[in-house]
């Protein structure tokens, strides 16, 4: 997960991963949980 539009664009080609795009709170919550978390629905 990233809050960077640039990494959301280039991540799949550079890292070979699927990207989840979220805001900073989503990123911190996802890092803490170890899975993709959306703070607000």
């Amino acid at each position: 997960m990233t809050n960077s539009g640039k990494w959301a664009h280039y991540g799949p080609g550079n890292l070979g991963v699927q990207v989840a795009f979220g805001d900073l709170e989503d990123c911190v919550a996802s890092a803490a949980e170890g899975r993709v978390v959306r703070v607000r629905p």
Binding site: K6, H9, Y10, P12, G13, N14
Partner: protein, 150 residues
């Protein structure tokens, strides 16, 4: 067909044209190890720029594209030449720095790109700013028949 060009980074190069349908960032968009387009959203994803004359209307950033172009020149995976419709300082810096560091040239020129199609053979002669030109020839029979002249 011969056209005058403006020289951003001098040199000579020839090869088969690869005309990009959308601009690409060398950083994140080109793998310097192979020369392939790795931007998943690009319509020509998977094509290789190595040894081709890369024809692109405009640059697309990222500023680190200078380093990626220089590295691809070092590795021999760079285009034989780059033809732009509008000047791009990022690609120009990459080509100039590679010439200083590695003694290898990838000419970068600005000129009219209308009518240039992928597959046509292009010769870029950009040694002297006042006599720089590109020549557009007929389609090459062998698309892999592309050479670096530096």
């Amino acid at each position: 067909m011969t056209r005058p060009v403006r020289v951003l980074s001098a040199g000579r190069g020839q090869g088969v044209a690869l005309v990009l349908l959308e601009p690409v960032s060398f950083w994140g968009g080109v793998d310097p190890a192979t020369g392939r387009l790795i931007d998943r959203s690009h319509p020509q994803h998977g094509e290789s720029v190595a040894g081709r004359v890369l024809v692109m209307a405009v640059g697309r950033g990222s500023s680190s594209s200078s380093a990626v172009l220089a590295e691809s020149i070092r590795l021999g995976t760079a285009p034989a030449a780059i033809v732009l419709a509008h000047p791009d300082p990022i690609l120009t810096v990459g080509a100039i720095v590679a010439e200083f560091l590695y003694g290898r040239r990838c000419p970068v020129v600005v000129g009219a790109i209308e009518g240039i199609e992928t597959g046509l053979r292009i010769v870029v002669e950009a040694d002297a700013p006042d006599a720089a030109r590109l020549r557009v020839g007929p389609a090459s029979v062998d698309a892999s028949d592309a050479t670096h002249t530096s």
